[in-house]
Each structure stands twice: as structure tokens, then as C-alpha cells.
């Protein structure tokens, strides 16, 4: 079981991600944007952060940058949930410090198999 922070401004995506991960026995916390996520992240420890890129208030890229500044999150796997498949956009996430990405749309199974990679 891992503690996972799922960040997405879309409630249905959050529900889907959270439901899938909880179903696999993980402990999931949700946040609707970067600001909320950062607030939650600061008071807690997570084994994995999943974040959308395009969000109001604070986008995923800024969130990753902020998280990597925090010592607890220096090595924490952070995956972006992105529909932008171009190398450019992935690069942006990567250069901000993301571990990898999951391309939307993904199925619950794809999500689980992807996070399995980084949760070891």
C-alpha cells in the first residue's frame, strides 16, 4: 500500500483515479489544483504524486517545481497526467522535475501498471 496524492481539476478524473487506486489498496488523497496539493503535501508524506498539467490557480508544472524544493519530495516519484503527448510538453514536465507521465486517456489498468513501475 502506498500513499498517493492525486491532483486534477476535473472531478471525474479525480474520482476515477482515486477509485482505481483505492481499489488497488492504496491510500489516496485528492487535490483540485496545485495550491491545494501543495498545502496537503506539506503536511503529509506521499510515496507518489500524480498531477494534471492544466489546472487553475497553480498548474502541474509549477506544482512539481515547488514540490522538488521540499526535501521530503526530492526523490518522490511524480507522474504527470497529460493529454499533451508532444515531446515538448513532456519535456516541460520533465525539466520541472517530473519522474514520468501517463498519457490521457488511460484506463484504470494502465494507471495501475504505470504506477507499479515507480512504486517498486
Amino acid at each position: 500500500m502506498a500513499r498517493i496524492l492525486a491532483v486534477d481539476d476535473s472531478a471525474s478524473m479525480r474520482q476515477m483515479v482515486s477509485f482505481t487506486l483505492k481499489g488497488a489498496g492504496h491510500d489516496v488523497q485528492e487535490a483540485k489544483d496545485g495550491v491545494e496539493a501543495l498545502g496537503i503535501a506539506k503536511g503529509n508524506k506521499f510515496d507518489l504524486v500524480l498531477t494534471d498539467i492544466n489546472m487553475p490557480n497553480m498548474d502541474g508544472i509549477s506544482l512539481i517545481k515547488e514540490l522538488r524544493q521540499i526535501s521530503d519530495y526530492k526523490f518522490t516519484p511524480i507522474l504527470t497526467l497529460t493529454t499533451e503527448s508532444g515531446t515538448e510538453k513532456k519535456g516541460e514536465g520533465k525539466s520541472a522535475g517530473a519522474t514520468g507521465w501517463i498519457v490521457k486517456p488511460f484506463s484504470p489498468d494502465q494507471l495501475l501498471s504505470t504506477i507499479k513501475k515507480v512504486l517498486g
Binding site: 477509485f19 492544466n54 503527448s85 486517456p105 488511460f106 489498468d109 494502465q110 501498471s113 515507480v118
Partner: protein
């Protein structure tokens, strides 16, 4: 693990509708030429979310369409493209199309693709031929069909690799899963111990991967493992048994092979997510909506309301623990405290109940927000200039009523723009500003929500209406009709004169349907119109589940509730200030005003405690701009009450707007002041006189009940 995706559909549809509303609002507020980047970004995000969600949940058509929108918006937000009127118009149309697509999907109907395709090609034309119009896959290479068995892999992470949260151990583990793996670690780059930076990566690896005969060790599978780190390392993947050295250098695009292997494509994560996903086509046609129909819909509640509930539950818990203590050790001298506690409990419970009810109430802005668009589109289409003013948007209305009043309102607003507001030239000639004015206003009045649609247009042409009505035989040639009656003719089913009232939308929905819809909600509609000045449509709607601040009064042993908003003051009557006119009507002199006294027991045919005005109380109320003094036996407290409809199981009752349940569980009727004023005018002269004689026994009041009954039956 199998997850039933349909459980997320409802949320997806709801957030998409919200997203579309937001897009529409932003688009309408967008200044062409100098668009606010944040607004464009908001629009982009909405389209983006809908695309992501629809793709995830298998609504391929929606995903495909939003992708084009998104591409256009992305260019706008990155500044590559100017925000033009054309683009805004197309995007607004796209919002409509998307709404229709989502509705069809939700209801399990097939999406009508013609308009979608048409608009999509318009968007594509705008984007230019070179734009990519496919929903992209994740861009990883396609398959290469080579049958290599052995791969040499050189992997040298850059120093910062660990700081991206990637772990070489993970990669090694995954490689192992593909086949037999020989590993050689090169630690030559490791610096002297004192120089080691713990977060840096110094090792490099050479792997030899041999397929174990399962065909798993394909190049794609290997690439996929390194997918996330390709920018953070030096990587070479070389096939041994193949003369064709298929190597991949990091930081280069992977060449795309034209060949394909359908079986593998399915199983590969990257491929399944790309354009070929076969699932969506079927699921669009499955009746998604059965589970997610509007009736089972959820409701968004403001945090304030939830917080209020939490506070109340908190109070309830405190009260409960206080009462709990009494339960353990109770002495008779604590009885007062126990009573106080019970009173408190009752209050807590009631407040909680009322506030839970309030959750169903939404500000009417939900219904109003579509009108800027409606007015903009229609006035453009008609070549008119119209300014729309919205007021009272915070007025709360039950969710169900809100959903059902939308269409009638659209019709009325369209009607005002179409038939009320004149063309700019005509307005100018009439000495009016060229820009017409339409106002939508909402406010509470008693147990009702009033919605007004006011325009400063030409007004309804009475002569024309009357003429048409006579033509159609709705009115006799010699009938004398009041203005009110004439205006009311526009709601007659047989009345649809294009000259006076027509339907712009062309759906053949007439004003009669508007009236019927409003009546079905238990409401009414009234028109006032003045030539050259404009028309006002006033809709009165009940608050089926609403809460109202009420004054409890008693008459003849029964409790009634007067809406607090209608009460001006309550006072004790001084006999010398009451005068009777012609022996019938009584007037009470309140300061400089003479107010008709209406004895509630007369209207309701019940037995008061006393018929002497000085014994009871006069509640001065206002309704429809009129003041009356309502004579009651006594005043009780004030409290918020939950309005319940009498019509659910019975029918509407004159002078009563609804009922409520009091703290003791009994039912009390809520008075409709406007209605009571009307009712008081129909009271027979003489009935009000002769006091002390009539109503002295039940027989008389029974008799009058029967009379009343016969009268109403005759009217029917």
C-alpha cells in the same frame, strides 16, 4: 482489476456542463483583439478537461471534436493566433454543439454527427491545413516487426536522474521482466567518497537482454521502459541478431515504422491509448444516461451552506451531551435545565432541517447565465442593438423549479428581443436610444419568486391583438375587454400571429406553452404593456421547497403563518380610529392612511375568540402594492418555516400559498396576502356586518361552507 467506468459518467457530465457554461461566459466576455490571457486560459482548460475526460470515459466523438477546439485555443493562449471575432463565433457554436453531444451521450442517444462534422471542418479550416487534427497517441514509436532475440543496451544516467524520482533499479527490474538479463555496472565515474553528492547518479550500465522465447523483449517494450528517462540519460539499444542496427540515441525522435502488429498494439499501453482505441465507438451508443439521468442528478452546494450545517451539527452534539448528563444523574431541581435543553434540542433540530432543505436552493444566476449569449446571438441575427441587464441573480430558487423555468424564460427573452425591441432606425425615429434595453430581474415576494422580463420596446399593439383575436373567433365582435384581458390573449393557444408574437427559434413553441409550463410549476404569468414604452412579463413561481420567515398568528384556534416580508407592522386597535363606510367596509386610520380592515375569520369562515377589534390584533400587511389590516386573534412567535405544497396531494386553496409543519408536528397554513386581498374584495357586503349574530354557532358557518361549495361548483 476491472473498474466500472460508468460510475464516473455523472460527474463527468456535470463538470462538463459547468465547463461549457464557463467557456461560454468567458467567450462572451472576451475582447476581440485584446483578449485577456487568463480568460483564454480558462477557456482552454475547460476544453482540455472535457477532452481528457471524454477520452478517458470512452466518448470518442466528443474527444475528437474537443481536440480541434483545444488546438485552436492552445494557439490562442500561446499567442500564436489572434483572438478574432470569427474564432469566438466558431467557439461559441462549438459550445452549443458540445452541449448537444454531451446531452445525447448522457441520454444514450446517437450523436447527430452532421453538424459536428460541419463545424469541425470549419474549425479545421480556421486552423489551417497543416494543423494536426487527430487525437494524438503518446507519440512513442510504432511497432517494428523485427524478430530480435538479443539486445545490447547501454544506459548512462545523467547526474540528475535520481532527482526526477526515477530509479535505475526500477528500470533494471522491468528489463528483467522482459527476458534474461545480463548486467554490467560501470562505476568508474564514481568520484572520491568525499565528493559524492548523494542525490547524483554516477553509475552506468550495459545490459544484454535475451528474449526468453515469449517475444516480450521487443524494441518497443524496451523503449517504453526508458521512456521517462530518455532525456535524462545516454541510451543505446542495439539489436544483435539483426544486420539492421536499430539504435536509438537519446534526445532524438524515434523513427516511425510503417508496419503494424495489431495484436501487440492492443497489449501495449502506449498504443491502446492512441487513436485506434476501439472501445469508445460502442460505448457512445450504450445508454449511459440510464444511470446518469437528470433526475438522479447531484447538486453543487456552496461551502457556506455546508459549513452552516456542520456548525449546526456541532451545536446539536453539544446539546445532546448536555442532555446525556441529565440522563445519568437527574435530580428534580434540574428540571428547568432539562427543559431548556429540550428547547435547545428542538431549535437545533429545526434549524438543521431547514438548512438541509436550503441545500436544494440555488441562486437563479444558474438560469440567467445563458441569456447574455441568447440576447447577443439573436440581436446580431436581427440587426438590433440590445443591452441585457441582469438583476437579483442571487435570488434563490428550488433546483427543480430552476430546471423547468429555463425554457419558458428563453422564450420570453427571445420574444422581447424579437418583438419588443425595435430596429435601431425605428428607435431613433421614435426618439429612443438606438440601443434597446432588456432587463431580467428576480426577487422573492412572500412564498414566491418573481421573475420579470422588462423591455423598453414598442409594447404590445392592443388593437392588433384584439383584431386577430376576433378574426380567430377567440373574442366576440362586441366584447369589451380590459387591457389586461387583451394582453392575456397572447397566451391563448389559438393565438400565434406572426405580426405580434411569433417564435424566432422556429420550433413552433408558442406563448401558450410558456404559460402552460409556468402553470405546471404552480406559477402564473402576467403581461403589462404600454405603447412605445415597452412590455413587462411578470412570472410568479412558488418556492416548492423553499424556506420562509414567517409570523405565526392564531385565528379561531388555528395557527396561520404570515410571510414576514409582507408585514409592515402589527398593532392593537383603538376603536376611535376605525370607521365604517356605508355600514360595510371598515377602515383603520394608520397615520395618514386609511387601511381596509379584513377580518381573517370572515374570509376563512371560522369562529374567532372575539369579534371585538380591540380584543385582537391588527397585522398591517402589503400585497400587490396595497395595504390591509388583517384582524387576527393573537400573534405567536416568528420562525422560519419550510413551505410545503398543498397541491401535491390536494389542490391550491384561495388565500393560502402553502402549508408548513410546526414544531409540534401539526400543519399550519401559510397565508397568501395578495390572494387574501383579492378574496376580501369578493366578500358579500352585509356579511361583514351584523357581527355577533352570524358565526355565533357552528350551524351558520357550516351553512356558509355549503354555500361556498355550491358557488365554486357552479363556477366550475
Amino acid at each position: 482489476m476491472s473498474v466500472d467506468m460508468s460510475q464516473f459518467y455523472q460527474t463527468f457530465f456535470e463538470e462538463s456542463v459547468e465547463g461549457l457554461d464557463e467557456m461560454e461566459n468567458c467567450l462572451l466576455n472576451l475582447d476581440v483583439g485584446q483578449a485577456d490571457p487568463e480568460t483564454v486560459n480558462t477557456i482552454f482548460r475547460a476544453a482540455h478537461s472535457i477532452k481528457g475526460g471524454s477520452a478517458t470515459f470512452g466518448f470518442a466523438e466528443v474527444a475528437k471534436f474537443t481536440h480541434v477546439m483545444e488546438t485552436l485555443l492552445d494557439e490562442m493562449r500561446s499567442g500564436e493566433r489572434l483572438v478574432t471575432q470569427e474564432a469566438v463565433d466558431l467557439l461559441l457554436k462549438s459550445v452549443d454543439i458540445l452541449r448537444a453531444m454531451l446531452t445525447a451521450t448522457q441520454e444514450g442517444q446517437a450523436i447527430e454527427m452532421d453538424p459536428v462534422t460541419r463545424l469541425q471542418s470549419q474549425l479545421e479550416a480556421l486552423l489551417g491545413a497543416d494543423a494536426s487534427l487527430e487525437v494524438k497517441g503518446n507519440g512513442s514509436s510504432n511497432t517494428s516487426a523485427n524478430q530480435n532475440k538479443i539486445w545490447d543496451i547501454h544506459f548512462k544516467p545523467h547526474e540528475h536522474l535520481l532527482r526526477t524520482g526515477n530509479d535505475p533499479a526500477r528500470i533494471i527490474k522491468e528489463l528483467k521482466a522482459l527476458g534474461e538479463l545480463e548486467i554490467q555496472v560501470d562505476i568508474s565515474a564514481l568520484p572520491h567518497f568525499k565528493d559524492i553528492e548523494p542525490s547524483a547518479s554516477y553509475f552506468s550500465w550495459d545490459f544484454q537482454l535475451t528474449d526468453a522465447g515469449e517475444g516480450k523483449a521487443s524494441k518497443e517494450a524496451i523503449e517504453e521502459i526508458f521512456n521517462w528517462v530518455e532525456d535524462d540519460c545516454d541510451l543505446q539499444i542495439i539489436a544483435q541478431e539483426n544486420s539492421n542496427v536499430d539504435s536509438v540515441q537519446a534526445n532524438t525522435e524515434t523513427p516511425t515504422s510503417p508496419k503494424s502488429m495489431p495484436v501487440e498494439t492492443r497489449s501495449s499501453e502506449a498504443q491502446a491509448s492512441s487513436k485506434g482505441n476501439p472501445e469508445p465507438k460502442t460505448s457512445v451508443k450504450t445508454p449511459v444516461g440510464k444511470k446518469a439521468s437528470a433526475d438522479s442528478g447531484s447538486i453543487r452546494v456552496s461551502i457556506d451552506k455546508v459549513d452552516a450545517l456542520i456548525n449546526m451539527v456541532g451545536e446539536l452534539v453539544i446539546t445532546q451531551s448536555m442532555l446525556g448528563q441529565f440522563g445519568e444523574t437527574f435530580e428534580m431541581d434540574q428540571i428547568e435545565k432539562l427543559r431548556d435543553g429540550l428547547v435547545q434540542l428542538e431549535r437545533n433540530t429545526r434549524e438543521l432541517q431547514e438548512n438541509v432543505m436550503r441545500i436544494r436552493m440555488l441562486p437563479i444566476s444558474f438560469a440567467f447565465q445563458r441569456f447574455p449569449r441568447v440576447v447577443r446571438d439573436l440581436s446580431q441575427q436581427l440587426g438590433k442593438q440590445v443591452e441585457l441587464q441582469l438583476a437579483g441573480e442571487q435570488t434563490e430558487l428550488d433546483k427543480t423549479v430552476m430546471e423547468k423555468i429555463g425554457d419558458p424564460l428563453v422564450h420570453l427573452v427571445r420574444n422581447s428581443v424579437d418583438h419588443g425591441i425595435e430596429l435601431p432606425e425605428i428607435r431613433k425615429a421614435a426618439g429612443k436610444p438606438e440601443k434597446g434595453h432588456v432587463k431580467l430581474d428576480a426577487y422573492h415576494q412572500g412564498g414566491n419568486v418573481i421573475i420579470e422580463i422588462v423591455d423598453d420596446g414598442a409594447g404590445i399593439n392592443k388593437d392588433k391583438v384584439l383584431e386577430k383575436a376576433k378574426e380567430r373567433g377567440l373574442v366576440n365582435e362586441n366584447d369589451k375587454l380590459s387591457d389586461e384581458q387583451i394582453f392575456d390573449l397572447v397566451f391563448h393557444p389559438g393565438f400565434s400571429t406572426a405580426d405580434v408574437v411569433s417564435d424566432v427559434s422556429g420550433r413552433g413553441v408558442g406563448m401558450d406553452v410558456v404559460k402552460r409550463n409556468i402553470r405546471e410549476l404552480g406559477g402564473s404569468i402576467l403581461v403589462k404593456s404600454e405603447p412605445e414604452k415597452g412590455s413587462t412579463f411578470t412570472i410568479k413561481l412558488p418556492l416548492t421547497l423553499a424556506i420562509l420567515d414567517g409570523q405565526l398568528v392564531t385565528v379561531g384556534g388555528e395557527t396561520y403563518i404570515i410571510p414576514l416580508v409582507s408585514i409592515i407592522e402589527s398593532l392593537q386597535v383603538k376603536k376611535d380610529q376605525v370607521s365604517a363606510i356605508a355600514g360595510t367596509a371598515e377602515l383603520y386610520k394608520l397615520r395618514n392612511e386609511y387601511i381596509p380592515v379584513v377580518r381573517l375569520y370572515d374570509l376563512f369562515h371560522c369562529q374567532p375568540i372575539s369579534e371585538n377589534l380591540e380584543d385582537g390584533l391588527l397585522v398591517v400587511v402589503e400585497g400587490d402594492g396595497q395595504h390591509i389590516g388583517l384582524y387576527v386573534d393573537d400573534l405567536q412567535g416568528q420562525q422560519q418555516v419550510v413551505i410545503k405544497s398543498l397541491e401535491t396531494n390536494y389542490r391550491s386553496v384561495e388565500g393560502v400559498s402553502g402549508a408548513t409543519i410546526l414544531g409540534d408536528g401539526t400543519v399550519a397554513l401559510i397565508l397568501d396576502i395578495t390572494d387574501l386581498i383579492k378574496l376580501s374584495r369578493t366578500i358579500q357586503p352585509g356579511q361583514a356586518l351584523d357581527r355577533g349574530m352570524s358565526h355565533s354557532n357552528n350551524q351558520t358557518s357550516n351553512a356558509s361552507l355549503v354555500e361556498q361549495n355550491q358557488a365554486t361548483n357552479a363556477a366550475a
